[in-house]
């Protein structure tokens, strides 16, 4: 297993480089030299050259072949990688603040939104999926399936706009916007759950039903176990692997926050920060969030694999 973990940990390197390469290409190569934007329209060529030199924008993009081989990596992308690996995320061009400080400030608000949303969504979805599976082919099951499909077919934007208008603005049940206390999180969490639970219920229901037709369930029934005991003691345990996959892979996204909900409800988290950075072409922020997101994603996948061995002793990691 150690060899497997080391191998998977090493895979962080090409995956992160690949993701960063795409981001770098989109924002730096296509987007143009940021020195022009930073210096502003009135800038002199000397000022642009000064900023380019300071930030390394005057270097070749990928390899410095002019100074081959001694300084071949003295180029923009290798320099970016080198900074990120040292967790030196630089200074945001839009806010002039250290990006590491911005990440620190945005981390907790994102978790305040995403953790309750994630937990409620998971518990509710598994519970409803078990209910649907237990009452499969009855009106309860059909209602749950129809509601789930309906729920997942409606765009999150519609939920946000309707809820903000009716629940917050007209009926004043919730604050429209803000991050002043737990009551400000109720509506965005509620919207997040309603928008997301449908898809999760359908996914988990399928898993439960798949398990319920397994031989061990037939055996349990033959042994005279009751439906509920089979469902909770056996089916749920065996359905844990796909549930776990779904759960652990989602964990990195708790960190990155919810782009839409944070933006509409004014939660100063990383999702909102990323949206703003995209609009402003704030490369430093985007490279940092991409870098951290890629690493977390790979680590979450590794954690999933390790968790498999815990959930199912038959699984061996090689």
């Amino acid at each position: 297993m150690s060899a497997y973990i080391i191998r998977r940990l090493l895979s962080v390197i090409p995956i992160t480089i690949g993701v960063l390469l795409i981001t770098f290409f989109l924002f730096r190569v296509i987007g143009g030299n940021p020195a022009y934007r930073i210096a502003g329209k009135n800038a002199t060529p000397e000022r642009i050259a000064q900023i380019s030199k300071e930030r390394g924008y005057d270097k070749p993009y990928f390899l410095n072949l002019q100074n081959f081989p001694r300084e071949v990596f003295d180029a923009q992308f290798p320099r970016l990688l080198s900074s990120l690996v040292r967790f030196d995320f630089g200074i945001s061009a839009s806010t002039k603040q250290p990006v590491s400080r911005m990440l620190r400030e945005g981390f907790l608000p994102s978790l305040c939104l995403t953790v309750p949303l994630f937990v409620i969504d998971l518990v509710l979805a598994v519970a409803l999926a078990l209910l649907a599976a237990y009452y499969r082919d009855t009106w309860i099951d059909r209602c749950l399936v129809v509601l789930s499909v309906l729920g997942m077919s409606i765009s999150s934007l519609v939920y946000i706009m309707v809820a903000q208008y009716w629940l917050a603005s007209e009926w004043r049940l919730f604050p429209v916007w803000g991050f002043e206390g737990p009551q400000y999180l109720v509506l965005p969490v509620l919207i997040g759950v309603v928008a997301g639970v449908g898809g999760s219920v359908r996914f988990y229901r399928t898993i439960m039903l798949d398990e319920m037709y397994q031989e061990y369930v037939r055996t349990a029934r033959a042994k005279g176990l009751g439906g509920r005991t089979i469902l909770f003691r056996h089916v749920l345990r065996n359905a844990l692997i796909p549930i776990m996959t779904n759960v652990i892979v989602a964990i990195p996204f708790l960190y990155t926050g919810s782009l839409l909900l944070e933006n509409f409800f004014g939660i100063p988290g990383l999702g909102r920060m990323t949206v703003i950075a995209v609009f402003n072409g704030d490369e430093e922020v985007l490279f940092a969030t991409t870098f951290i997101g890629a690493i977390l994603f790979v680590l979450a996948n590794l954690a999933t694999d390790i968790a498999y061995t815990w959930a199912d002793p038959r699984i061996r990691l090689r």
């Binding site: 143009g32 930073i38 329209k41 009135n42 002199t44 060529p45 429209v176």
Partner: protein
């Protein structure tokens, strides 16, 4: 820095910016955006300028109510004495103005403002190591500034305050001299800009790189709490004094209730709390809920808010909401690169004439009125001059190349492209760049221009670029035509006319690379002239010269629409709203 295209959009947004009031009458909520912290050297964007001007202030400022715009002393005791040759401005600094208490000062006790503080602050704007976008306000005008900047460029480790040049001198504790290389009648205008606001040297040194997060100013408010991307809170600066609400304004101000607070000590509000709301839908819900004092009118909401007669809908009128429409002093245009072999100027008079007719045909081909109606809900009006209305030198003479498709076709034929084909029968293809890659508004505008040019037989390719790439292409002169806008920095046509001065060609502000010796001669004459009927006449003459040569196809003047709650008081549109928060008030509600 000049608030040009990038800032044009955000300046409009600033007018559309939002705020609101909580239960207590003097607590105000508002909405901002990204800004670069509280360092006046970084006040080039509208949002930064707005935030900075709550905390810091300068020698002079605009009168809030009077029009035409003029400056009044603020931290100066009076307007400066100007030497007969126009090369020395002497300011007496107001006595008794104090920086607030702050740990940066010995014992944490603030101290009195002195003339030396201005010397230090102005030198920071010029310091190339700080990369201020505002160095243009001094660098070519103040005596010795260029050499001093060059000295710092070559000796980056030199201390900022090294006595290398004497352009800014504190002759005594309360007297500041600004010595110029040549007359600079615009000096008082640029001194109103946040770049020229005064900061204490102690704070710069004490906070170092974090100075931008710790404002220590003499302004009407002080920062209480700031959570980036979310909320910022200011309270009345207890050390602010010496200013009252104006007792006079222009005709109609009294009737509009704008003098109800005349003579009251400023600022009128105790507290400003501003939220950073980026979604217009959220903003609109909060405005309707009475939580925000103001809202803009988003394009998508326009028809719900504004009637076809461009008034407020009855439902909003019944709620007492006030609609204020105000033009920003800016002009949008399509520029031609005059060095381009197809559309540019030529030393051959016959070729030059044909190319000029091609540019004129381009201008006449675009139905700007339709553009305003269809794409902007008439939130823009067709431009008829380089200068926007309200700036000396503007005349209401009709634009000679306003939309006229038949005339455009005729001019195109005279340019050597009958029906859009050259002598060999090849179609005329032109390229235009514009910023706003990925923006729906930019794409719609691009489609519109393509269709308008196609109607006279010209194939126009529009490239939507990121702002950085757009600036690079303009800077390097890699354009044929380009969509752009210019927001005036101060109410003097010189600020617009510099865009056509030959020596300012790329990478300077003359992005069209326009060359006209007669224009240059007149420009060199007016740059040192004070405001006078003679100067205005020359401005008009220069405008006509440019319009005839058509380095720009004139497009629009933007018109801002702002909505205000009935309880919000003292709002008067100001084209240079650097120091206006202290005048705002709310009535009990």
């Amino acid at each position: 820095m000049n608030l040009r295209f990038a800032s044009a959009a955000s300046l409009l947004a600033a007018f559309l910016w939002l705020a609101g009031v909580a239960s207590a009458e003097s607590i105000l909520h508002g909405v901002g955006g990204d800004f670069k912290g509280f360092d006046p050297v970084d006040s080039g964007d509208v949002e930064s300028a707005d935030q900075i001007s709550r905390v810091y202030e300068g020698l002079v400022e605009y009168h809030y109510l009077d029009r035409p715009y003029h400056v009044i002393p603020r931290l100066a005791a009076a307007l400066p004495e100007i030497a007969p040759d126009g090369l020395t401005y002497t300011f007496r600094i107001r006595r008794g103005v104090r920086f607030p208490d702050d740990p940066c000062f010995p014992g944490g006790k603030g101290r009195e403002l002195t003339a030396q503080d201005f010397v230090d602050s102005f030198q920071r704007v010029l310091d190339p190591r700080l990369q201020s976008q505002g160095d243009w306000i001094f660098v070519n005008h103040v005596r010795g500034a260029k050499a001093w900047v060059e000295h710092l460029n070559q000796n980056p480790s030199a201390t900022t305050n090294a006595p290398v040049f004497d352009g800014f001198i504190a002759t005594d504790r309360y007297t500041l001299e600004i010595r110029l290389a040549q007359p600079y009648p615009q000096l008082l205008w640029v001194l109103t800009m946040p770049y020229a606001f005064v900061v204490p040297r102690e704070a710069v040194e004490y906070y170092g790189k974090d100075f931008r997060n710790h404002p220590v100013g003499t302004g009407p408010y002080r920062l209480v709490k700031w959570r980036r991307n979310y909320r910022i809170e200011f309270e009345r600066n207890p050390f602010f004094s010496g200013q009252t609400y104006p007792t006079s304004g222009e005709a109609g101000d009294r009737e509009a209730g704008l003098l109800a607070d005349a003579g009251r000590p400023l600022p009128l509000l105790d507290r400003i709390i501003e939220y950073d709301i980026r979604e217009f839908y959220t903003t609109w819900q909060m405005f309707l809920g009475g939580q925000l004092f103001s809202s803009g009118v988003n394009k998508d909401y326009f028809e719900k808010v504004i009637t076809p007669e461009l008034g407020l809908t009855p439902a909003l009128t019944a709620r007492g909401i006030q609609l204020i429409k105000a033009p920003s002093l800016s002009t949008y245009y399509i520029g031609f690169n005059m060095l381009d072999p197809v559309v540019g100027q030529s030393t051959d008079p016959a070729v030059n004439d044909r190319h000029r007719k091609l540019r004129q045909a381009f201008a006449a081909a675009i139905d700007v009125k339709k553009y305003c109606e269809v794409l902007t809900n008439n939130r823009n009006t067709p431009a008829n001059s380089l200068l926007p209305p309200g700036v000396a030198g503007y005349t209401d003479a009709p634009y000679p190349y306003a939309f006229n498709r038949e005339r455009a076709k005729q001019l195109l034929a005279e340019a050597g492209y009958p029906a859009g084909k050259d002598a060999k029968g090849n179609p005329l293809r032109l390229t235009m760049i514009m910023p706003g890659a990925g923006s729906t508004d930019a794409r719609q505008a691009a489609d519109f221009y393509v269709e308008q040019l196609r109607a006279i037989g010209v194939e126009l390719e529009v490239q939507q670029l990121t702002f950085a790439e757009y600036l690079r292409r303009q800077h390097e002169g890699e354009t044929q035509t380009f969509f752009a806008g210019w927001v005036i920095d101060y109410p003097d046509a010189q600020n617009f006319l510099q865009l056509f001065y030959g020596p300012n060609k790329c990478p300077g502000v003359n992005s069209s690379n326009y060359q006209n010796p007669e224009f240059d001669r007149l420009y060199e004459k007016i740059v040192s002239m004070n405001d006078s009927p003679e100067r205005t006449a020359i401005y008009e003459q220069m405008v006509q010269l440019v319009i005839a040569d058509t380095p720009w196809a004139l497009m629009t003047y933007p018109l801002g629409y702002g909505l205000f709650q009935p309880w919000f008081k003292n709002y008067k549109h100001h084209a240079f709203p650097y120091a206006n928060w202290k005048y705002y008030n709310v009535s009990p509600h």
